[in-house]
């Protein structure tokens, strides 16, 4: 089967058409055969009735050898339309009369015209016997024996054939064909239309299914038809499957990111500890050495100062990696939030960036004050940094669903997708250590407070959302 024929788009309408044509043909055949059967039975019945009606007079004609009486009986009112060939024969089987006198001549043996007549024994019944010579149902012979006072005086033979029906049959066939053609002319386009309607969603589904795995789930954009029928339910299921796939993919991305950040955190913490311990020793050694100023000349002192500054810078950088939300801090209150605003006020004044501040948080919480202050401050400083060129910044703080929500928006320099994807990784960029670790620190604080942080960007708009549970399960690590 060719590929075109394999598609249901073709097979369904084709099946419909074939079924319709087949049904019509079989119906016509069945009706035709039934009609033929009925016509044959009617013909036999008519011939029997006619034969029995003629029998008495025919006996008379046979007894008196009255050829004309016999002929006028068989001839009927109009010889030309006779559907049945009648032959009257005497007791010796010779023709007395027929309505086809040229074919069945007077006194000729009937057996010459019907050679197969001799095959059967002469009938005894008065109802007449129907023979089908050679088993051919199209030709039938009705034999009606004629009796006069118990003596058989002859026989009436009626030769029946389908010939009279043929014209009627042609009419029936023609009429049937026309009706069938008309019905098909209506049904076929409907069938094609219906088939296409049924198959189009299936084809779309198949196309879409073929793209799953090749393309990204959210980029599939499938025109799936949903509804109550089986195909519609298939559409529903498929849509659900796509949604589940998209969700799973997002989950996987989040898990991977979380794991990566956790791994980076562990490495950073490990490295920081390994560096901090010897660093502490070196700084302490330098301090001890400086307690004896008599040992140092000016050059040495400058060198030590230089070393100390460099080591302090290293220590600062390393401690920035080691973010720890200490539980022993006091709890967060609303004033802590407003303090952050106060802290950035000098900077706001300097660069003139408009700040919208909305603090709906009031109740004291179980959250530690310092990490949250640092978190908000970092986010705010980032936003101010990004909004420098004529943008704005807004901060919203509130509590809902048992969590503290911080939302910092800005309009300003757009974030690249690359930057967004690695937003929470420690990123010592071209600037000084502090800001490069800003979001990293935020992430670490949020994680340690059992909360979540997310960064969205759309064009010049950037939005950082933090959610911190108010009864946090603080984990150190």
């Amino acid at each position: 089967m060719s590929r075109a024929l394999a598609s249901y788009r073709v097979r369904l309408p084709l099946s419909l058409s074939v079924t319709a044509i087949l049904t019509a043909a079989l119906m016509a055949l069945a009706l035709g055969l039934q009609t033929l059967q009925n016509l044959r039975q009617d013909q036999i019945r008519d011939a029997q009735r006619l034969g029995h009606a003629m029998a008495a007079l025919m006996v008379e004609a046979l007894r008196h050898d009255d050829v004309w009486l016999a002929y006028s009986l068989l001839r009927g009112p109009d010889r030309r339309d006779a559907e049945i060939v009648w032959v009257a024969a005497d007791e010796r089987g010779r023709v007395l009369a027929s309505n086809q006198p040229r074919r069945f001549r007077l006194d000729e043996p009937v057996g010459e015209a019907f050679p197969w007549l001799a095959e059967r024994a002469a009938p005894n019944g008065v109802q007449g016997t129907v023979l089908e010579p050679g088993g051919d149902a199209a030709r039938r012979l009705l034999r009606i024996p004629l009796y006069s006072e118990g003596t058989r005086v002859g026989e009436l033979l009626a030769l029946l054939s389908d010939a009279p029906f043929l014209a009627r049959f042609r009419e029936i066939l023609l009429g049937g064909s026309l009706v069938t053609a008309a019905v098909l002319a209506l049904l076929l386009p409907l069938g094609w239309l219906w088939g296409r309607r049924m198959v189009t969603p299936l084809v779309a589904l198949a196309d879409c299914l073929g793209r799953v795995g090749r393309d990204e789930v959210h980029a599939l954009d499938c025109p799936i038809v949903t509804g109550d029928d089986e195909i519609g339910q298939l559409g529903w299921r498929f849509t659900e499957m796509l949604d589940a796939l998209a969700e799973k993919a997002a989950l996987e991305r989040r898990v991977i990111q979380t794991e990566r950040l956790a791994a980076v955190g562990r490495v950073a913490a490990g490295v920081a500890h390994e560096i901090n311990n010897p660093l502490g020793g070196i700084v302490m050694a330098i301090d001890t050495y400086r307690t004896r100023p008599e040992r140092m000349d000016v050059q040495t002192r400058d060198l030590l100062d230089l070393l100390e500054r460099a080591l302090c810078q290293i220590q600062g950088t390393v401690s920035a990696l080691l973010v720890e939300a200490r539980a022993d801090n006091r709890s967060l209150v609303a004033a802590d939030i407003d303090d952050v605003r106060t802290l950035v006020q000098p900077r706001l004044t300097r660069c003139g960036t408009p700040l919208t501040w909305h603090n709906a948080f009031s109740a004291p919480t179980s959250l530690p004050a310092a990490p949250v202050r640092q978190l908000l401050l970092n986010l705010l400083l980032n936003a101010l940094e990004a909004a420098r060129e004529g943008g704005w910044v807004s901060v919203e703080v509130g509590a809902a669903d048992g969590a503290l929500r911080l939302e910092v928006r800005n309009r300003g320099r757009p974030l690249t997708a690359e930057r967004l994807a690695h937003a929470f990784e420690p990123y010592p960029g071209p600037r000084a250590a502090g800001p490069g670790f800003g979001l990293w620190v935020c992430y670490q604080i949020a994680s340690q407070l059992g909360g979540e942080i997310a960064l969205d960007a759309e064009g010049p708009m950037t939005c950082a959302r933090v959610r911190l549970p108010l009864k946090p399960s603080v984990t150190n690590g």
Partner: protein, 300 residues
């Protein structure tokens, strides 16, 4: 009392009652020629044999009505399947008159009286003709030997006596010449028998054949003449023993005058006849001679 005569009696009683209740007004005098037939007088029974066009019942009925009007007698048409039956009725006094063939006339000349003889093609004469199907290979009476042949009636001159006479004269045995013969009991049927192939040949009345062809022109092409007889006296209308002289004269008078009457002429045209004439028995001498020569044929 038969059904018919009972009805006739009731009808005449009604007519009498109607005449008594509404006496005819002085202006309503009808001429005697168009007076209705006298219902009270015994009707004239007119026998018609199948020699002529006896199957045109409607036409014959109109003719009988016309006759009745002229004779001021009711005329009843009597038709029988065989010549012989009409002859028996006529000779038995149960018919007043009949239209019969010349052959039975010459056989019973002593008890019958000629009324009139029809005039056809200007003379009271006709022929016997032997016809075959036009598509057959038969060209003479001799060719019909061993074939199927249809006689009209054993009391017919043209359909029985003459062809047998012709065969005998030719030295053939009229009973053994054909393979098989049968009677059709009428000339029109003999024509049908040949045209439809039931018989190979038939002897028919030339008047009947021509009249049939006038009615059914397609017959002309289906038939072919292979033999024609000399002219014989036309089948006459004869009076039987039951008809009195007065009725005979009156009937003869009316029939002879039929051609002069408008309605009568129309009826004659339907009959394909010119009129009726009075002839003597000498007109049928030829038939009598043939009958004498062949002897009285036994009827089958």
């Amino acid at each position: 009392m038969t059904d018919r005569s009972r009805r006739a009696f009731a009808t005449s009683l009604l007519a009498l009652a109607a005449a008594a209740i509404s006496p005819r007004s002085p202006g309503q005098t009808a001429p005697s020629a168009t007076l209705p037939p006298d219902q009270a007088a015994p009707p004239l029974r007119f026998g018609v044999t199948p020699v002529i066009l006896d199957e045109q019942v409607g036409f014959l009925g109109r003719w009988a009505d016309w006759l009745g009007t002229r004779l001021q007698r009711r005329v009843i048409l009597v038709q029988r399947a065989r010549y012989r039956e009409i002859m028996d009725l006529l000779l038995g006094g149960r018919l007043e008159l009949a239209w019969i063939c010349g052959y039975p006339y010459v056989q019973h000349q002593d008890r019958l009286e000629l009324l009139v003889v029809p005039v056809w093609h200007g003379q009271p004469l006709y022929r016997s003709e032997i016809i075959v199907a036009d598509d057959s290979d038969l060209h003479s009476l001799a060719d019909l030997g061993g074939r199927l042949f249809a006689w009209a009636d054993p009391d017919s001159n043209s359909g029985w006596l003459y062809p047998r006479f012709a065969l005998a004269r030719a030295g053939e045995d009229p009973d053994g010449f054909f393979r098989r013969t049968f009677f059709t009991w009428g000339h029109p049927r003999s024509v049908l028998a040949v045209s439809e192939g039931l018989a190979d040949g038939a002897a028919v009345d030339s008047y009947v054949r021509e009249t049939l062809i006038q009615h059914t022109p397609s017959l002309a092409g289906a038939l072919r003449l292979v033999h024609r007889s000399p002219l014989f006296g036309f089948p006459p209308l004869v009076a039987g023993p039951a008809m009195n002289r007065r009725d005979r004269d009156r009937t003869r008078e009316v029939l002879v005058a039929q051609a002069e009457d408008g309605e009568g002429r129309a009826l004659l045209a339907d009959l394909n006849l010119d009129g009726f004439t009075v002839e003597g028995p000498a007109l049928f001498a030829d038939i009598a001679a043939m009958a004498a020569q062949l002897g009285r044929e036994p009827a089958t």
